[in-house]
């Protein structure tokens, strides 16, 4: 019997050895996969035991924690002291583990998982010692006072305001309206309440960051891009002469200037220069520019300005949309010039859609002599012990247009505010450069009103882009330019 006994004992030991192998698999090889599973309750609870870092801006706390003791566990839940100030940017992190906005994209920093080596080591020791792990605090570039003013100016209308530091690309304000209180999300029925907020336009979602994900027809603000293409390619100079009969001929049809409500005064300007066409936002001039240089050339410059790609921002990629031509709700790249209505594209109609951040970046490029700054929201990340984990150094994304072109565009934009369509943005003693936009929506006299500007024009410090959605008889000049001026005045300390 002894032979069989040996066989059976070997079989028994092999079975037990197999258990060591299988346990090894789950406790080493599969650990990462298991931790990433959505339904991993242990991971979820572990997350809650971390004292998540604060999110601060301009000395104000935008996201903090409440400490609870529950069933022998110390857990932390999120609280947003300035709940409705910038919820679309900050986002939220819930007890159930869902997160959006910076709460999502900066999660590794906020939970202390991604800091420098010394800190990681220190927090790992705390974890082993069953002490609370402290995440790093995030300090944003936002200026709460400017942000609050922007929301106050939008006053519940749908739209967005973006303010950038012209020299660095730091985002000083990123207001999206309608807004909601982030503290509502975790309250009973609170999320449903948030979903019901639609703004005065009736169909905007408070959860969407209109500044980065709101796609609006840019209207005449797109003339900045067309003019850049016209001048930079060498096809035109600011003093190139056009004859404006009050319309432009597109595919054998008259495209009338009258459709452009930015334009005050006579419907037909007669002989004008390109600069004057920009100043008075004359559609026929730009229509002819577009027909001459072609839609592909305009799109080539648009792409250089950042259209057709997501803006490089600290928020999650899902919170941004790329600007560009859209067809059936999707970003669309036409095969050739014949697929593009070049004349209409030149003054920002056709299928062109742009985000307020994208238009702010166009203005910032012009302000910075043709170089585009990289926008950023995170100023600094500071570990729980006060040591700096990361600090953003301003970066330039590259030379988009020649410095000469930028200087010419700067001049033309100053003319807009001095004597053109944007006089409502004038600030006494400060030269302002800007461009109005009143985008047709095919809804009669309801327009999306734009104003994009920077100041002081001779030494640009701040860039502001404003869009207010679906305004009845609301022109860029009458609705958005005054908002932009108020923001600029606040930024300039006036």
């Amino acid at each position: 019997m002894n032979k069989q006994l040996l066989h059976v004992s070997v079989a028994a030991l092999v079975l037990l050895a197999a258990l060591i192998v299988s346990t090894t698999y789950w406790q080493t090889w599969a650990v990462g996969d298991l931790a990433d599973r959505q339904d991993n309750s242990i991971q979820l609870i572990t997350r809650l035991t971390v004292d998540r870092g604060k999110i601060l801006a301009g000395g104000r706390v935008l996201a903090a924690n409440v400490r609870h003791r529950k069933h022998g566990l110390t857990i932390f839940t999120r609280r947003y002291p300035s709940g409705s100030l910038a919820p679309q940017v900050i986002g939220y992190a819930t007890e159930a583990g869902t997160s959006t906005g910076l709460e999502q994209s900066l999660d590794d920093y906020l939970t202390g998982a991604n800091t420098n080596l010394t800190n990681t080591f220190k927090e790992e020791l705390r974890r082993l010692g069953n002490q609370t792990v402290h995440g790093a605090n995030v300090i944003l570039t936002l200026r709460p006072a400017v942000q609050a003013l922007a929301l106050q100016q939008l006053a519940g209308r749908c739209g967005a305001v973006v303010a950038l530091d012209a020299k660095t690309g730091a985002v000083l304000a990123m207001a999206s309206s309608p807004t909601y209180n982030a503290n509502l999300i975790e309250q009973p029925k609170g999320y449903a309440k948030v979903l019901k907020i639609k703004g005065s336009c009736g169909d905007s979602s408070a959860l969407v960051n209109n500044a980065t994900a709101g796609l609006y027809p840019p209207g005449s603000t797109f003339k900045m891009v067309t003019a850049a293409a016209a001048l930079d390619s060498g096809a035109y100079t600011p003093s190139s002469v056009f004859n404006d009969p009050g319309y432009c001929i597109e595919y054998g049809q008259h495209v009338s200037n009258a459709g452009n409500p930015d334009q005050n005064g006579p419907e037909a300007f007669g002989n004008v220069t390109l600069a004057q066409g920009f100043e008075h936002s004359i559609n026929s001039v730009f229509c002819n520019v577009g027909k001459h240089i072609g839609g592909e050339e305009i799109l080539k410059y648009a792409k250089r300005f950042g259209f057709y790609s997501l803006p490089p921002l600290d928020t999650p990629p899902s919170a941004s949309q790329a600007s560009g031509l859209y067809k059936n709700g999707k970003l669309w790249t036409p095969k050739d010039n014949f697929a593009i209505d070049s004349g209409r594209l030149a003054f920002g109609q056709f299928n062109m859609l742009a985000t307020p951040l994208q238009m702010a970046l166009v203005a910032a490029t012009i302000a910075d002599r043709g170089v585009q700054p990289k926008p950023y929201l995170v100023q600094k990340i500071v570990a729980a012990d006060g040591s700096t984990v990361a600090k953003t150094t301003p970066q330039m994304l590259g030379q988009v247009i020649k410095p000469q072109t930028a200087a010419e565009l700067n001049q033309m934009m100053q003319l807009v505010v001095q004597a053109g369509t944007g006089t409502t943005a004038q600030i006494p003693g400060v030269p302002v450069a800007g461009k109005t936009g009143t985008a047709e929506l095919g809804l009669g006299s309801i327009y999306d009103a734009w104003f994009v500007c920077f100041a002081p024009a001779n030494n640009p410090r701040f860039v502001v882009a404003v869009v207010v959605e679906k305004q009845p008889n609301g022109f860029g000049a009458s609705v958005s330019a005054p908002i932009a001026r108020a923001i600029l005045e606040k930024l300039l300390g006036r």
């Binding site: 059976v8 004992s9 037990l16 789950w26 931790a35 599973r37 529950k70």
Partner: protein, 379 residues
């Protein structure tokens, strides 16, 4: 028992200590106290058995049918209407007042004694394969299997079948029997899986515990992902292993309760105590625990090899293999080597019947080793 194997009892004591420690850690405090009490009873039963059978345990051989019937009765008890109670779809507990008892654990020992005696007596004839000699054995085995499927206690069915196969092989040296019986088992379990939703569910949970689309959850009639319903326990237990990782969280630092105070893994201190230990002690601790089981099994088989008579050899082999296979069924289920079936981890899991049965097992092995060593010393 001066000549008994000196390693078995310390190893059993160490496993028991690990179990009581983890049960105390998981709480509530009453559980550890009750387990401690059961350990005292188990040691009492252990001492009584040694005392009672110290002259010659082989007398048991004469009462083999008593053991066979006892095994059946113990298995049948949970089906009785008043004292039986279904837990998790399986009827394996009996209730007498506030006392809960899993008679199947003791039934296991009785069955091993019966099989050892019966196979010793009939092994030559069995090896010839004459049909009439198979009768009583097949009847008892068949009845046991049937009862187990009726009570839905798959873990024990698997365990008994494994023990039966191992002992049959030791007795007859016929690998073809083992192969035939294995084939029979596969066919049988496939048939059972078709007919019993409980069994089919276990197999599905084993093959694909995570579903990407919601499926009907029988517990609440809603559409849910499988990992949130049927395979919840298995999947959360794997997360527990993963959270422990190589080094573990440290004893007392594992996460087992949610923010609502609900236990993340149900049945943590009985069937899933291995998940709790693996999280807190990590791979290092879990592997050490398994090595301890291996050492115990190794000693058991050495005793079987040293034994001089067929009954002792078969008994020691049955007890040792049963011990090893029970560990394999539960830990293999937790680590997805085989479908998960609820069964206790010997000496470590919370539960009185399990503790008592395992101390009986140690007593048996010690009696056998004492006799073998005494004969050797005498010769």
């Amino acid at each position: 028992m001066p000549l008994a194997d000196p390693y078995l009892l310390p190893m059993a004591a160490l496993l028991t200590a690990i179990g009581v420690t983890e049960i105390y850690r998981l709480g509530p405090a009453g559980n550890a106290f009750r387990q401690g009490l059961w350990v005292v009873i188990g040691v009492g039963v252990f001492a009584a058995t040694l005392f009672w059978l110290h002259s010659d345990y082989r007398a048991l051989e004469r009462y083999k049918y008593v053991f066979g019937v006892t095994a059946l009765v113990l298995l049948f008890l949970p089906r009785l209407p008043v004292i039986g109670e279904p837990i998790n779809g399986a009827r394996l507990w009996i209730h007498i007042g506030s006392l809960q008892f899993q008679p199947g654990e003791l039934g296991k020992i009785a069955l091993i004694v019966f099989l050892a005696a019966y196979l010793r007596e009939r092994r030559e004839v069995l090896a010839q394969g004459r049909l009439k000699d198979w009768g009583p054995l097949l009847v008892i085995w068949g009845a046991a299997m049937l009862l187990l499927f009726v009570t839905n206690d798959l873990g024990s069915a698997l365990l008994y079948y494994g023990i039966f196969l191992a002992m049959l092989y030791v007795a007859t040296a016929r690998i073809s029997f083992v192969a035939a019986a294995l084939g029979l088992f596969l066919v049988g379990s496939f048939a059972v899986a078709q007919g019993t939703p409980h069994v089919r569910e276990r197999v599905t949970n084993w093959l694909s515990p995570w579903s990407t689309h919601p499926i009907l959850c029988p517990q609440n009639g809603q559409m849910m992902l499988r990992q949130n319903c049927q395979s919840y326990q298995e999947v959360q237990s794997l997360y527990s292993l993963g959270h422990g990782g190589f080094g573990g969280t440290g004893l007392g630092h594992g996460i087992f309760t949610g923010t609502t105070g609900k236990q993340v893994i149900p049945d943590l201190n009985t069937d899933f105590i291995y998940s709790a230990l693996a999280q807190e002690l990590g791979l290092v601790g879990a592997a050490a625990l398994l090595l301890l089981y291996m050492a115990f099994v190794l000693r058991g088989f050495r005793i079987a090899l040293a034994a001089t008579d067929g009954f002792s050899k078969l008994l020691a082999a049955g007890l040792s293999f049963g011990f090893a296979f029970q560990t394999f069924v539960i830990v293999g289920g937790i680590t997805r080597v085989i479908p998960l079936t609820g069964i206790t981890l010997p000496f470590v899991s919370y539960g009185g019947s399990s503790v008592v049965a395992n101390f009986l097992l140690v007593a048996g092995l010690m009696l056998i080793s004492h006799r073998a060593n005494r004969l050797e010393a005498g010769a």
